[in-house]
Symmetry: C2
Amino acid sequence: MAGKRFSEKHRLVYYDGDRTYHASIPMLVNLMVLASEDQSEELGVGTEEVSKYGVGWVVTQYLMTINDLPKIGSTIELSTEATAHNKFFCERRFSIADEAGNSLLEANSNFVLMNHKTRRMGKLIPELLDPYGSDEVKRITRLPRVPKITDDQGTVSKEYPVRYFDLDTNGHVNNSHYFEWLLDVLPAEFLQTHIPTRLNIQYHKEIQYGHIVKSEVVKTNETDTEINTLHKMTVNGEIYCEAECSWKTVTAN
Amino acid sequence: MAGKRFSEKHRLVYYDGDRTYHASIPMLVNLMVLASEDQSEELGVGTEEVSKYGVGWVVTQYLMTINDLPKIGSTIELSTEATAHNKFFCERRFSIADEAGNSLLEANSNFVLMNHKTRRMGKLIPELLDPYGSDEVKRITRLPRVPKITDDQGTVSKEYPVRYFDLDTNGHVNNSHYFEWLLDVLPAEFLQTHIPTRLNIQYHKEIQYGHIVKSEVVKTNETDTEINTLHKMTVNGEIYCEAECSWKTVTAN
C-alpha cells in the first residue's frame, strides 16, 4: 500500500477528556479529521480547493480498533494516509500513538466525494486525489457491515435535537457529534467504567440542523471479558447511522 | 495591578469554529480556562495540588468585551493573570489577541474556592493563592449584576438534558457548555449573522449530570447598531445562571 503518510502531534488538554481522564472518543474523531485536513492543506487540496469543484469529502464508515485511550495531559501522535481508491471510494487509515510510539488506536475509513448541489456522491476527481499518492485498485477493502438491530431486541433510547454548535464551518454536522449521541445514550456509570475496544460506524444519510436524532442502543453480548452494543440513529423513523461497539472494563480514576 | 502574567499561543482549527468561520464562544471559554490551568501548573498549584486541600476553583462570573472573534485558521495569543483577591474572591483577567497583537477579547472574572465535600465556598488558602502574586485588596472590582428577566417579558426557551460528555475529568459540567445552552436557544439565522460584543454571565448554582436545563432568552433592545438579549437557565424552576449579551451584525461567510 502506497499513500503519503502525514503525522502531527497534539497535547491532550482538559476539555479533550471525560471523567475517566482519557481523551473522549468524540474528541479523538475530531483530531483524526484534523490530521487529514492538515495533510490536505499541505498537499494543496484543502477544503477551499476542494469546494472549487462543487464537492466535499464525506466519510461513510469508520472501523476503529482501540488498544487504549490516551490520557489527558499526554501528547499523542496522529498519523494518516490515503491508502487506496477506486472510481468512487477512498480508503483512509488513521493511527494514534503515545509518546513512546505505542499504538493506541488504529482506524480504517471510507470517504466519498459529495456534490454540494445534488447532495449525492459522484466519481472521484483526479486533481483532488492524485496528490495523496494512494493506490488505484478495483475494489477497496470492504469494511464489515454493522449488524441490524432486530425488532425483538428492546432498545434504550434518547433524543438529541441538532444544535447550532454541532455544525462545522460548512454547515454540516461535525462527525464527532454522531459519536456523542451514540455514546451518551449509555448510562454514565457504564461509560465511567468501560472503554471501547472496537467501534464500527456506518453513515447512511446526512443528519441536518433542525433534525431530532433518536439514538438507540441494545446490549447484545456480555461475558467476563467483553460487552457488545449495537446502535442506530434515526430521524423520523428513518435510519441515518448504525454502529456496533465492543467494550472492556477499566478502573475509573 | 500586580499578578504574574501568563501567555500561550493556540492555532484555531476547524472544530474550534462555527458557521461564521469564527472561533465559537464556547471554545474560547475552553481556551481561556486552559490558559489559567496551564499557568497554575507552571506555578506548582495545578488541579492535583489544589484538590489535596479538598477544594477546587469555581468561576462565579465572567464579563467579556469582544472587539472581534478570531477566525478559524489563525493563531491567537491567550493571556491571563490573577489581578486581585480579598478573603473569599479572586479576580482574574483574560485577553485574546490576534497574530498582529490586536486585542480581540478582554474578560474579567471572579473565582472562589469550593469545598469538595460541602459544595460551599470557603476562605481562600494562602498556599494556593500566593504563587500568582495577585494584590490583596479589601474589595475586588464588583462586576455588574445581570438584570433580571421580568415576568412580563415573554421568553423563548429550549431544554438541554446534561450529557455525559458535558462533564470534565472532575465530574463537573465544563463551563463552556453553559455558553452552548445560552446561545443555542437563539435562532441559527441570528447566530450566523451576529456576534456578541459584550457578554456578562453569572453562575449561581452548579448544574449537574441528570439535570434538565431550561435555557430562556428575551430580546430587550434592538437598534440599528446594537441588539441586547437577556438570558436565564433554570433547573426545576430554580435559577442556576443568568446572562446578558450585546450583539452586532456581521456579514456571514
